[in-house]
Symmetry: C2
Subunit: 404 residues, 2 copies
Amino acid sequence: MKFESVEKQLALIRRGVEEIIPEVELIQKLEQSIKNEQPLIIKLGCDPSYPDLHIGHAVVLRKMRHFQDLGHQAVLVIGDFTGMIGDPSGRNKTRPQLTLEETHKNAESYLDQAKKILDINKFKTVYNSTWLDSMSFGDVVRLTSKYTVARMLERDDFTKRYKSEMPISIHEFLYPLAQGMDSVHLHADVELGGTDQKFNLLVGRDLQREYDQDPQVIVTTPLLEGIDGNDKMSKSLENYIGLNDTPEQMYGKTMSISDDLLERYYLLGADVEVKTMEEIERELADPNTNPRDLKRKLARRLVSMYHNESDAKEAEAHFDRIHLHKGIPDEIDIYHKNENETILDSLCTTATVSSRSEGRRLIKQNAVKWIGELVTDPLFKPEPGFGEGVVKVGKRRFLKIIEK
Amino acid sequence: MKFESVEKQLALIRRGVEEIIPEVELIQKLEQSIKNEQPLIIKLGCDPSYPDLHIGHAVVLRKMRHFQDLGHQAVLVIGDFTGMIGDPSGRNKTRPQLTLEETHKNAESYLDQAKKILDINKFKTVYNSTWLDSMSFGDVVRLTSKYTVARMLERDDFTKRYKSEMPISIHEFLYPLAQGMDSVHLHADVELGGTDQKFNLLVGRDLQREYDQDPQVIVTTPLLEGIDGNDKMSKSLENYIGLNDTPEQMYGKTMSISDDLLERYYLLGADVEVKTMEEIERELADPNTNPRDLKRKLARRLVSMYHNESDAKEAEAHFDRIHLHKGIPDEIDIYHKNENETILDSLCTTATVSSRSEGRRLIKQNAVKWIGELVTDPLFKPEPGFGEGVVKVGKRRFLKIIEK
């Protein structure tokens, strides 16, 4: 197997990466790989406690895709065993433990979504229960004898919890060690992960040394901010763009990010090439550029990546219909509606109409419109995946409805 | 099965005990046992990292004997699995881990010695590898999820090591939990242990609660001081009276303890009854008592317990021959000799004779005596187990030789 030169490979590997620890070892490994015509084994641990992925999760999957494109062997480790423990990384409390069944179900959904990013012909999926399940108590004793309590407590989140007297269960100490054993089992050359995984990844490196292997190189990717720009993207904070979002949802959410995030979203979310990135930086620096235009381009690009170009065009048209629709004031009330609610329900709940009977009467009188279309059925509800839209009641009442 | 009244049982159980946690639950358990005519299950964990037991170890075995005498079920848990981890209790560093074979060999020796104290017809021996070995990594995760790091670090020895930055390996956290699982497996009603085991014993109590069992009652016994009176009795400090010591060694070592220790040795070492103990306290308080007489009685008693009365008498005679032998000054040089050394070797090493040839000449001239007996063979060495004795060379040179 023929590989690109070390320089060319490094250029792609470095793109949008936070740290490579240590880069000099990565260079050696790439040189060896070229010399022996052998791909490197690239490990990525997947935490199957999330059934829904978002473009924040995708950052590290895109990095894996880079390694695939360079000809290396992608190995996705489904942490079905470690999912039972629950990764305590970055948590300020003990996680609920999942059962193996829950974990397997989530893993299938994870893989389905990861396939939108990875080259599906070139990756291997393994379940870490395969080797961790067969470890006995004695094996665990030997494993845990290789790490000290003090070193484990040095991990940021453990330090914080210990100092503030928040409980840390002892089984949480087993997580970094168990996922580190995955690296030993796979003889991983490189492990990828978000910056919040740095400690765990380094444990894998340490354990490989303890088990007389060449230690893996760590490649960490930044955590993408959520669309609110305050926190990292996360489902529980409802500031995410999901890989399973509809084109309309994806487009609308992208349009809602602040201008500050544009560069990060282009680099990490849209994974643009170095040359394109330079152009975008130039445009952003130009006072004549309207950031809105760059945002529209980003939104189209993201929808094209996860759906296709024609979906992107339609999503843009949908967005324009709502937002450029004449006569809608700039500031209107916003309501997040549940799936089963009808338009009439939403109007009643928000007191946009004074009563259910007033609502029915207005619908009968053709005075209610949903995204410019007349609502004639009192039981009408928008199709799931609509993202957002505006209801107009009479001439002056407006309500923006957003999908929960 | 018929049992004594709660009061009668308690009187014996309380003798020489440090703590009963909580006594009220012990009373309930005894009442239940009487009512249901069912013996209580009394657990004692044996640490098989010591192949040689001493009367310090015997304290808790005697407490177990009391429970046996009251009709309860003694269960000795041989920690062959936990021995592999090494109990970190009271240690200021990580212990070396033993192999299962080393542990089994030590366990046999432990049991041989324990049989000198226990009623051998009424005890059950179990190896904790039987159930701990078959625990999987997943079982260990579930077990370790039941205890927090902070609680574990509250243990005295861990706190000290953590604060002084001495390494604690994570596997040491597994020891208290593993031995606690023994209590769960055995459905123990009572667990016995030295005061240094209190933390571990309480973990067993906690785990039984977590596994929906009635928690065991903890009965701790004091740690017996060594014959030097400074530290707890321990082989490494060479301040112990071994259960396998010869009558002469046992007698001699007992005679060397300070008067302050007499009461503790009577109570904990000789396990005397309450009435006898009261007598001894009275005698000790009487200014007319010579503590030496009480020490002789104690020494006879200890030898009788571990050997027999006639051995005790002989050991006393042997002791008197050495110590009361006329013409031996009170203060003479002391030498600890190795097993293979001859008397002549010892005399040369200590420069009691000026040269090996002077030594040989003196032996030829019938000028050397060992405990009053003429030494005629230059290669003569005392039989192992002699304890101690005095060599007389000519009329004025003396050397007390003590077995190493």
